[in-house]
């Protein structure tokens, strides 16, 4: 699989290089509109294209061994019954296949595009043990879910309304997943979303060649198509609505507010023009359209997580001449997958291991990034060897610095609501319950930022807990 993906990425990379050769030449600066329409289209086309047709899907689906207690299912945070949904493609029961996926993961369509499957389902496919390419699970999942969404098959019947009401804050993966499970059980759900669109980080925080804004919107509509879910947009918790109001007006509240902007670097010069936050950068790219997003010519990206990769590749594909990724540890400790790193490297991003930002210099604008050379010391709390300064430094000429060293919880908001928290991350018990009565939480706001698929599972767990503890009802959802 790696080889095949590698090839695909290579082809796209060649396109990028080809087009970067003909881009307009401008003085080194942060500027929007660096490429032509066709260049943008090429650079931001679907990085994992779907199957050409039914036969192609059948060929791959037929390879699946239909494992028992399948490692792929065990490696999926939402426990999708992968062998079953693939078998259903083989038997031409695509509707059943989509139902199998969605009953475990209502964002199964989006997850098929954004999940780091190489470390989840596909990574544990037994074919890896034969040194054979794993089953393309994500691609097959995309096949079934795309057909279901295109045909608007509503595969779940909402139970008669029970008159019970739950407020969900945040229309991201956790909130939508929670709302869908609740609605299926006849609960009336109102989602309060601070943005003008649903989907959360799926819509606003993921590389554009993985999911398009249109897809994200379609997915939200498909999920809410079950009925009983009312999304109120542009309603921000702590500004437009208060937790007290929600507690008073609803039987329960579920907080799926996610995490905020990128963690600060806490170094001199961070306030200079040209120093941006990766989430904000991707958000702009997703909301304003590619040509409108300013990008530098010499871009440094701090961090080596999935968001860092997304930011680096997007910067390159927006027309940055040089993109350098800095990580304070080594490849062994990096949070992103090897597959993601390959994408960045094939896009032409430079990688500097064992480098930490020390200072940003410039005359009003970022011009130089001073970095400390690091070495690995003793393992830290995460079990990874911690980076230690060597005392040596080096300097990078830059005009843009993108901060992607993890995201920061909404600590001030969380603390202002008197929610028990740990550095801003909401603390919940085994019933997904916070310290406040009737207030539940899950997803990034609790775990500090994980995959979409983890948030979907958190939403399911939250809904199950609300049904059990508040409504004393059972859920069929796993």
């Amino acid at each position: 699989m790696r080889t095949r993906r590698f090839r695909r990425v290579t082809q796209r990379n060649l396109l990028t290089l080809l087009f970067s050769a003909v881009k307009k030449s401008k003085a080194m600066a942060i500027a929007p509109n660096k490429l032509t329409t066709q260049q943008y289209d090429n650079n931001f086309a679907d990085i994992h294209p779907p199957f050409e047709n039914k036969t192609a899907a059948q060929v791959e689906a037929s390879r699946c061994l239909f494992c028992y207690d399948a490692p792929c299912t065990k490696s999926c945070p939402t426990h999708i019954d992968v062998p079953k949904f693939i078998k259903q493609i083989v038997t031409h029961n695509v509707k059943g296949s989509a139902h199998t996926i969605f009953s475990s993961n209502i964002m199964g369509a989006g997850c098929s595009k954004v999940c780091p499957v190489e470390k989840l389902c596909e990574g544990s496919c037994v074919f890896n043990l034969l040194d054979e390419p794993p089953i393309p699970i994500a691609k097959l999942q995309r096949y079934s879910t795309e057909i279901a969404m295109d045909n608007n098959w509503q595969l779940f019947q909402r139970k008669m309304s029970t008159g019970k009401k739950v407020a969900v804050v945040g229309a991201g993966p956790a909130g939508l997943s929670c709302a869908h499970v609740l609605s299926r059980e006849g609960v009336d759900v109102t989602i309060y979303e601070k943005e003008s669109k649903g989907g959360g980080l799926m819509t606003y925080g993921i590389a554009a060649y993985k999911v398009t804004p249109q897809f994200c919107e379609d997915e939200v509509n498909y999920i809410t198509g079950i009925g009983g879910i009312d999304i109120r947009y542009n309603q921000e918790l702590g500004k437009d609505i208060s937790l007290e109001e929600l507690q008073a007006g609803y039987d329960a509240v579920y907080l799926g507010i996610g995490v905020g902007i990128a963690r600060e670097l806490d170094i001199p010069g961070e306030e200079l023009e040209g120093v941006v936050d990766a989430i904000r950068f991707i958000y702009e790219l997703r909301t304003k359209g590619f040509p409108a997003v300013p990008v530098g010519d010499k871009v440094a990206v701090i961090g080596m997580g999935m968001t860092a990769i997304d930011a680096a590749t997007q910067a390159k594909r927006l027309g940055a001449k040089e993109v350098t990724m800095l990580y304070r540890r080594t490849e062994t400790e990096m949070p992103c997958t090897r597959h993601e790193l390959d994408i960045a490297m094939l896009d032409g991003c430079e990688i500097i291991w064992l480098a930490a930002p020390k200072e940003i210099k410039g005359n009003g604008k970022a011009e130089q990034l001073i970095c400390s050379k690091m070495k690995l010391g003793e393992p830290d709390a995460s079990g990874r060897r911690s980076p230690v300064e060597t005392g040596e430094t080096f300097t990078l000429e830059v005009d843009m610095v993108i901060k992607a060293a993890g995201q920061k919880p909404f600590d001030k908001l969380v603390q202002s609501m008197n929610l028990e928290n740990k550095n801003g991350k909401i603390v919940i018990d085994e019933n997904c319950s916070t310290n406040l009565k009737g207030v539940f939480a899950g997803g990034d706001d609790v775990n500090g930022g994980k995959e979409v698929v983890d948030a979907v599972q958190a939403g399911k767990d939250g809904a199950a807990a609300i049904l059990k503890n508040t409504f004393h009802a059972k859920t069929q959802s796993k």
Binding site: F66, C67, D69, P71
Partner: protein, 422 residues
């Protein structure tokens, strides 16, 4: 290099692979292409009665993502003018004198028609005749094809008519659409046929279209039972072949094996179970004549590996190994062993044994990979786990005899040994 030339009833061919009487042998154009590709011989598509074909004619069964595991047809015997067929047969023989040319026949049900047809065919210089007593559709309604083969007496009568005039070898092709192929086989051997060939196609319905609700193949809103062939029928053909190869009377004549032969391995299996040569149809229809190359090369390499110099060295060698159930050795016992180094933890052996067999495999939970081990005292040695295991030689069956001596069912009962004791 082994010698793979074949001599079937004196009909010589450079290899034992003939194309079966079917669409690929319907005319000179196809037959010349087959000979150019290297086929040892052909059985020309059945000549005889006047017919008219319909459209469509074929349907298939796909399985596990593979096309055409089974193939079904409702085509009749040759629908071309007899004179053209005869002329082309003669031309093919002239152009490829080293290849076998056998002509399949199905005349109207009277002695005169058979005599006239045989005379005309012999005039072409053909090397042999094959009597089509097997076609299961279209011709049977008119008392021909399988209608003859299904009744040993009628079959005997027709063969007697044929033997009155035939001067070249006569092969009688048997229909599988009977309880046993042996009665008709015996009957036609008694009537004097020089050889037998089997099996013809098996009556079938390959499937129903779930939109139109009409079975395949579709002819203006209707369908009929067709003749089934292809890899799906091979096991049935091998069984029927074995019964002919083991019968005291029918085993006296050479047998041409037919039924789902797609590879050299299939061909060797047919020959081990008593076929002197083999006929191929569906595999050529789906992959064209070029498959002859691997058929010959594979056979040759296998013979070299095993030290067989001529086909006769191994033809029929496996026939005695198929015995009666009551002669099997009850003291033989083998149990499954899972090679943990090769295991990919798919769990297929476990769940097959757990749900449908003897709960003889244990599961030790792991994340994400479970460990599966055989519980030796529970294993009955059924082979199911080995059959479903996707990794070659990961599960092996290890011999653990109950006792050293051979004991069969009859003896076992005589000694009053315990029954129903698992």
């Amino acid at each position: 290099m082994a010698n793979i030339t074949s001599n079937f009833l004196g009909i010589k061919s450079p290899n034992p692979f003939w194309l079966e009487s079917a669409p690929p042998t319907d005319k000179k154009y196809n037959v010349l292409r087959a000979f150019e590709a290297g086929w040892g011989g052909v059985v020309w598509k059945t000549l005889g009665s006047q017919v008219k074909n319909v459209s469509s004619r074929y349907s298939a069964v796909d399985f596990g993502g593979q096309r055409v595991m089974g193939f079904n047809n409702i085509e009749l015997i040759s629908d071309r003018p007899l004179e053209i067929n005869l002329k082309e047969i003669a031309e093919c023989i002239k152009l490829f004198p080293d290849r076998a040319m056998v002509v399949s026949l199905m005349a109207d049900n009277d002695k005169k028609s058979w005599h006239e047809l045989i005379k005309k065919v012999e005039d072409t210089g053909a090397h042999g005749l094959e009597l089509n007593f097997g076609c299961p559709h279209g011709m049977t309604e008119r008392g021909m094809g399988a209608a003859v083969g299904q009744d040993p007496e009628i079959a005997c009568m027709v063969v007697e008519w044929v033997m009155e005039v035939a001067t070249i070898p006569v092969i009688t092709k048997l229909t599988p659409n009977v309880h046993s192929v042996v009665p008709t086989g015996r009957s036609v051997v008694k009537a004097g046929t020089h050889g037998l060939s089997l099996i013809n196609t098996i009556q079938s319905v390959t499937g129903v279209d779930l939109d139109t609700l009409v079975p395949n193949p579709y002819v203006a809103g209707k369908s009929v039972f067709g003749g089934y062939c292809g890899p799906a029928v091979k096991p049935i053909a091998l069984k029927m072949l074995t019964t002919i190869a083991q019968d005291e009377l029918t085993s006296k004549v050479p047998i041409s094996g037919i039924g789902g032969i797609s590879t050299w391995k299939d061909a060797v299996e047919f020959m081990l179970l008593g076929a002197s040569n083999v006929q191929v149809c569906k595999a050529a229809m789906t992959h064209a004549f070029r498959i002859i190359e691997d058929l010959c090369e594979g056979l040759n390499n296998w013979m070299d590996e095993k030290g067989y110099q001529r086909l006769e060295d191994f033809i029929g060698k496996s026939v005695p190994t198929i015995t009666h159930w009551e002669d099997l050795d009850i003291n033989y016992h083998h149990i499954a062993k899972i090679n943990q180094d090769k295991c990919i933890h798919c769990g297929l052996c476990y769940i097959a044994c757990e749900d449908t067999s003897h709960q003889s495999i244990s599961l030790e939970y792991g994340n994400p990979y479970n460990t599966y081990t055989v519980i030796e005292k529970e294993c009955v040695g059924c082979n199911l786990c080995k059959l479903v295991c996707p990794v070659e030689n990961c599960i092996t069956m290890e011999e653990h005899r109950v006792a050293p001596e051979y004991i069969n069912w009859v003896e076992f009962q005589k000694r009053g040994l315990p029954l129903n004791d698992h």
